[in-house]
Amino acid sequence: MEINWIKIIGLIITPIIAFFTGTLYGGSARNITARIQNRYGPPIWQNLFDIMKLYSKSSTIHHGVMQHLGAVWAITASTTTLLFIPILRDSELFVNLSFDGDLIFLLYIMVFGSLGMALGAGQTGNPNSAIGVSRGLTQLVGYKVPFIMALVALMIQFKTTNLNDLLAVQDSFLNWNIFQSPFAFLAAILAFLGMMGYKPFDIVFAPAEIASGPPSEFGGKYLGMMQTSRSIFTFAKLVLFTDLFLGGAENFFILIIKTYLLYMIPLLIGIVNPRFRTEQSVRFFWKWPTAFGIIAILIVAY
């Protein structure tokens, strides 16, 4: 059997590039937040320093097997999600394990990270973790409904469940799905606000209220793994939305521009907004985004 070295190198560097991009986006988010609050703010590589420091902690306490596995599970789930999303069009280097039906597969695998975190947090026995997990899973039920409706609308419209086919449809600027099915985009982008976990939907991690929620007993290397997984997953979600609605990207430069602009939407909405309670956020997701999703499905079905 012939060994394809380019693919093996790609398999190694794809998560690494995703990690660094996601971390730098997070750092620039902290910087932008600081500037809006009239502060100078940390440098954009601050999150990188934080994660390196967490990995270099000399002692790390754990409360049982599931706390090990929870962090490992989260990082595995986010890396797997990343590998099934086409990062660039027709790229030799980046891994693209996309297959027929991968949109449905992604709906499953994207929940796994939250699930791993929930199991790991459950083992710690901290009441704040339990409250955070219950809030997080309730909110998940909230934003998954409009997101799935948007995806179903796309599936009906183009008669495919393959991301590569969806990319092939969006061959020119006016054929981007944001123009072809604007209601599906509206439903999905409103669900995206909940997925990113910035304000008004950051009830899960609320640091002043439930002491950062699920990871409140995670210190040192476990927290470092959680943050690594979060960075990779942020990048994966941004690339997924670029592929679904903004026509993908031909090279890395265009990908950075599109994903960064997409990243600004939840960030800038979050900076100027207060926090929703759980029932308020679920009510929000099941009202307007779900209505947009239903309209999108009705338009393409009839």
């Binding site: 609050q37 502060r39 940390p42 934080d50 420091k53 306490i61 409140s216």
Partner: protein, 181 residues
Amino acid sequence: MLNDKYSQKIVDIIKNYTRKHSLWVVAYGTGCGAIELPPTMTSRYDAERFGIRGSATPRQADVLLITGYLSTKTLKRVIRTYEQMQAPKYVIGFGSCAINGGMYWDSYNTIKSLDQYLPVDVFISGCMPRPETVISGFIKLQEMITDGKANGAEKYKENLDWYRTNQKQVIKNWKMPDYNW
């Protein structure tokens, strides 16, 4: 190769550099000094540009900041908080109350000198220390981390008996769980 003296030195330099630039603080607001922390963190003085950031729980924190006097009742909670933190961990005593009791030097229910009970790395003097002083104390801690001198956690581990004796003299009803740190 990774275990010889020179490569270990390089690893230590990188580790200390990242530790120095990312200090997560759990601010134990015991006394009046806690009021100086909001201006330190917000837009006027903005400690976040040095990588200093509040942390939600002691498990995630690096620095324990004791702001002001400690009553004997809160000392117990401070010790529990300190032992839940993960090494390397640093303690900053804040204000003259933490150094020698300050205006509470003859009080019956406050402790006089914090470093009898916890290994303090940096003391910040003043009553109250202004935000500039607080930030300069943090810079001093950063310099100590670079030089590898901020090893309060190891000191605590080595002299645990001495610290425990002092702590038990103040805390009469000692019923504390045994943390492994």
